[in-house]
Subunit: 105 residues, 2 copies
DNA sequence: TTGACATGCAAGTAAACGCTTGCATATCGT
DNA sequence: ACGATATGCAAGCGTTTACTTGCATGTCAA
């Protein structure tokens, strides 16, 4: 499994995740159309396909074949690695476990 | 302010954040030494300096001048944008507000 | 002031990235 | 079977990125 952080580094890929949050289980074509019509992006089918490959490699998107369609469904699980690595970033500002740690060296 | 996601895309920059979580308020030299001795990275001073510029630009690191030193201190605030954008990624697996949203279009 | 220390700045380079182009494969409806 | 639909694969290209190199600036201690 590849790098979750690198997968998030591209705005088009983030828009794809947004779109899958809005409606899960979309095909490549549906995603391309939505990116263009609702996200102001002009992404070709091949571009989106490659982005989906990156997202899939990062574990953020799971793919299921249905006939000639590829259904993409969101898996936000890997994102948890980010909040666990720097625990401060939780929604509640008062909940910042490691914000005032003392040094060790 | 630049892209938080792109700032996180590099492993060395993530190690810098880790290091600042362990001990906040470090200088460039301290960070370079720690990255080498404790994180298994061989980063030059200039490389780390440029990484810090990226992190600063993303709002993840604040800088304070103290005489001839530059003290770097961590600000995890911008990371909250990630958890707010895809709210599923909170620490608690049962807390997944948007995981089963219905479609709109 | 002088030398050592800590950092700043900018040009150059190799690799990675995002995208396009062109063609191939596979599935459905008729 | 046949055309249309939906996706797969891979080479090529321009841009960005991370890094190095070389020198400049600024601060401290003596």
């Amino acid at each position: 499994m590849s790098d979750v952080y690198k997968a998030l580094a591209d705005e088009t890929r983030r828009a794809i995740l947004d779109e899958l949050v809005r409606r899960d289980e979309q095909t490549l074509f549906e995603l391309v159309n939505r990116l263009i019509s609702a996200h102001g992006l002009s992404s070709s089918r091949q571009a989106v396909s490659q982005h989906l490959a990156v997202l899939e490699d990062a574990g953020l998107v799971r793919v299921e074949r249905r006939g000639r369609y590829r259904i993409h469904h969101l898996d936000t699980g890997p994102l948890r690695a980010i909040t666990e690595r720097w625990p401060v970033a939780l929604g509640d500002p008062s909940n910042t476990p490691n914000a005032h740690r003392k040094e060790k060296t």
